[in-house]
Amino acid sequence: MEINRIVIRYCYILMAFFFVAESSAQSLFTLGDYYNDSSKMTMGILAEYDVNSTAFTNELYYKALNGSFIETETKDRVNKRLSEFNKAGLDLNYGMFFSQRIDSLFGKERKGFHYFIKIANREHANMVFTEDLFKVAMYGNAQFAGDTAKMGSSEFNLLRYQQIEVGIINSFKGSGKYGIGLSFIKGEQFYNSLISRANLYTSQSGDHVDLDLKYSITQSDTSYHGYDAMHGWGMSVDLFYQMSYNIFQSVTVDEDPSHPSASSGSGSGQENETDWTGYLRIEVSDLGFIRWNDKTVQEKIDTMYQFDGLEIQNILQLSDSIFDPIVDSLKQIYQPKYSQKAYTTVLPTLFHLSVYQENSSGFYISLGTVFRIFANYSPFIYLKAGHTLKEKFRLGGSLEFGGYGKINLGFQAQADVGGFKIGLGTHSLDGFIFPKRTGRNSVYLSVAKRF
């Protein structure tokens, strides 16, 4: 009993500290956001970007964005965050949706059903890279004199596609819901660079370097990019199931013994049930694939190359004509094997399990975990809390860990004004405050109009 009270108090402290939020999902692009129970129709726009890394810092992002010079101090701050293997990810999603309540389905009367349509642009990039790869790329190989820089396994992935999704969502008793959406996907661009092995040895004096290299690059038709480019097609499914689940249902609190009613009770331990309600949600997003067309190019190389300088036959006759054949021969050595054929990629599929609890005074708390497969993503957990002010404004915060980054703090504000529901937030409040020490940068925005 006392333990429960302590837990509750800690929860309140956390809520007070982080503010409170009602958002339960990591992305705006989840089915539950596409309708409103009480509305016949809802239309909205959604946009979000999210960059995160276990190693990179916001300072590095800003300099990259501005085309600035990246000083040694900036690199050093990233360097301090490096581990043997490091991750980074980027998501950019924006689109619009429309949902409508329907009263019948397949000719039968069905209450609680909505259908929805969504069109969206989706972009995702992720990479995993070794500490040595970063050091070689950003500091050079000189620091590895007499040593080997191990740059594999490292990988970079990029996906750009557009989707149109159609689905239904059904609400049933309490907080119970389920939904399913099917998407047709137009593939715009795909790029994968996989360094399976890249061991770069630099001799102490630098008189020779050895590179043991195995890599592949696969990329969709490079002839043109843009929204009008369709280099592949695919399908995906979004699913969720939500059921009522009240963690605090059995929690009770002792009444004050000095209270007049205490003496008339059955004893000093009389308990009152709290007013918490909530749900448990399991969700799968972007379960699907894209089939890229037969102009998809794949380059592969698996080689061991030792370089100890361009051999000059006559040092007294240095000229371009002497260098050219040498350089040509180097190119020949590094000539990868090319192939061109259709290629299938699996979408970075997201699994999301969350618990959401809310009390009658407007406090919310949510705990969840996210797994994302085929995306170099680490398990992600979060704790969110929020509070509703006068039923129209909500403020919330979050503490998050994992994914492509480390620990982050988030913030969200939401207003319900004139039939518009407007949400604005970030997963990287700390990133804006401490750009030199944090690796996440994100903003998300949603505007929905209920009819």
Binding site: L92, L133, V136, Q189, Q317
Partner: protein
């Protein structure tokens, strides 16, 4: 937003290092510095890289000798005999009146005529020749109103026992529209008797010409006032393959000739002492006539120091008689040279001083007399196309010497033009490190000077304090035991890089000294220097 994402993607791509086919559209990207340590160039220099293979001879003990064997003077056939182009013209004109010519009847003045043409060859009296190449051509113009036939023979031009003979038809013409013809025949391979019709003359060509009305003409033809027939035959571009006769008596004075001595041309200062020097002058007469030569001067010229050393030897200024070549074939020739060898050594000349002057130029002058005793062959002088009179210099220098501050300089074209992406200009600072693994028993000090288009000095690459290459040690037999590694640092900064890129020529200057000093050391075939240039610099990456 799209640009923002593109830039972030760019960053990811750069860091992935293998994103060679970046998907990003053009925006200014970030930049950063990396410290690069990587080999750039390597080469191995043996003695064969410093001196052309053609000049190197390996001795049984694998030591080396430089052999300079070159013709420093040559007198060829065309100096003695040249057959000039010659034209002979024959013409028939009818100034007044008229007459008929029947088919087969000859044109007046052009029927069965014989011409003797005599070349003016000054004192040369040729009686026999063979043509290596050349032509006889005919230019014909006729106003005769019927087809004519020209028969031309040169009985002295014989090939495979058949005299040269031509018969050709000339179409009918008129005064206003004469018939013309141009014919050309190859005379290659013809033997020519130049003794004329009586067989006692010289330089004389015999030709027979006959022009008649074509026997197949249907009727007689009227030749009237103004009609003419003209034929010109030309002997042109005649090159003699063989000639016989008397070539006259005359003197040829050759003023100072200058030849280059390539293997010394890059040595600009210093001293060296060679173990031994052998020089031989070989004078060869490939003409079938007597000759006399006086070598007036032979001098070693060092154009860098301006020093000129005249060779002192008994043969200088003395007449040397050379008998005629014989017509007995020798390997590679249809005749046998008459030779006269002159041996030059330290014991009979100042050849050591001559060579240790390090000549990059060799001066020499001659007086040559052909047939100094007149026609004592009774007109049997001869020459072949490949005959010549030449002076060969054979110089053998053992690559065995001591050197003291022997300075070798060479200018090389510098083609370090900027690359297409201007990558070189991104070098912020650092060093080019030249690793020299020296297998020669000479220590060296190296410097490289840069020059622009106008040969104005722009920069020197190496600091004078750190430009020493240590000599390889030698054993008690004065043979190198192992290579010794030295490092020469070439500091780099933006200004230096700019100067390197702008340079058009580089002067490489190397100063050698023997270690141990004053010790004559042999150079062996396996001696070599390994050079490796390593970049150790900061490079700015631009993520554009």
């Amino acid at each position: 937003m799209k640009i923002l994402i593109n830039k972030l993607l760019l960053l990811f791509l750069i860091l992935s290092m293998l994103s060679l086919n970046a998907c990003r559209k053009g925006n200014n990207g970030p930049s950063w510095d990396v410290d690069v340590l990587a080999p750039i160039l390597k080469t191995t220099l043996g003695i064969e890289n410093l001196i052309p293979d053609s000049l190197i001879q390996t001795n049984p003990d694998s030591s080396l000798t430089i052999v300079f064997d070159n013709t420093i003077f040559r007198l060829s056939l065309d100096t003695l005999v040249t057959l000039p182009d010659t034209t002979v013209k024959e013409r028939f004109d009818l100034p007044f009146g008229s007459f008929y010519l029947q088919p087969g009847q000859g044109i007046p003045t052009l029927n069965n005529i014989t011409n003797e043409t005599k070349y003016n060859l000054k004192t040369v009296e040729l009686v026999e020749a063979k043509i290596r190449s050349g032509f006889v051509s005919f230019e014909i113009a006729s106003s005769i109103g019927e087809m004519t036939v020209v028969n031309f023979t040169m009985p002295g031009f014989i090939k495979q026992s058949v005299p040269f003979s031509v018969s050709t038809q000339v179409a009918a013409g008129s005064i206003s529209n004469p018939a013309t013809a141009y014919l050309k025949y190859n005379l290659t391979g013809y033997n020519v008797d130049l003794r004329g019709a009586q067989g006692i003359d010289f330089n004389t060509i015999l030709a027979n010409l006959s022009v008649i009305i074509d026997v197949a003409a249907p009727d007689s033809v009227l030749v009237s006032t103004g009609d003419y027939f003209e034929i010109k035959y030309n002997l042109e571009d005649i090159i003699t393959d063989y000639a016989k006769g008397y070539f006259g008596q005359y003197n040829i004075s050759m003023n100072q000739q200058i030849d280059t001595m390539d293997f010394f041309k890059n040595i600009t200062s210093g001293f060296f002492d060679m173990e031994s020097i052998t020089m031989q002058l070989s004078i060869e007469n490939g003409f079938g006539m007597d000759a006399q030569i006086v070598i007036d001067t032979l001098n070693s010229i060092n154009s860098s120091t301006g020093t000129n050393v005249l060779l002192n030897h008994a043969f200088i200024g003395t007449s040397i008689n050379l008998t005629r070549a014989s017509q007995i074939p020798s390997p590679g020739y249809r005749f046998t040279y008459s030779k006269y060898d002159l041996n030059v050594s330290s014991s009979n000349s100042n050849v050591a001083e001559f060579i240790e002057n390090l000549p990059d130029l060799l001066g020499h002058s001659y007086d040559i007399t052909i047939n100094p005793w007149g026609n004592n062959s009774n007109g049997n002088d001869f020459l072949y196309y490949e005959s010549d009179f030449k002076v060969n210099l054979n110089l053998e220098l053992p690559v065995s010497f001591s050197a003291n501050a022997l300075t070798i300089e060479d200018t090389v074209l510098f083609a370090a033009s900027p690359s297409e992406n201007g990558a070189e200009s991104n070098i912020n600072g650092g060093f080019l490190r030249l690793y020299v693994d020296n297998g020669f028993p000479y220590e060296a000090y190296v410097q490289i000077y840069l020059y622009d288009n106008n040969y104005n000095f722009t920069d020197s690459l190496i600091s004078n304090q750190g430009n020493k290459v240590t000599a390889a040690p030698v054993d008690i037999w004065l043979r190198v035991t192992n290579k010794v590694l030295s490092r020469i640092d070439i500091p780099l900064n933006q200004n230096k890089v700019d100067n390197i890129l702008a340079a058009k020529e580089a002067l490489i200057k190397v100063r050698f000294s023997t270690i141990p000093g004053n010790q004559i050391l042999k150079i062996y075939t396996d001696y070599e220097i390994d050079l490796k240039l390593v970049g150790d610099f900061t490079y700015r990456i631009n993520g554009n």
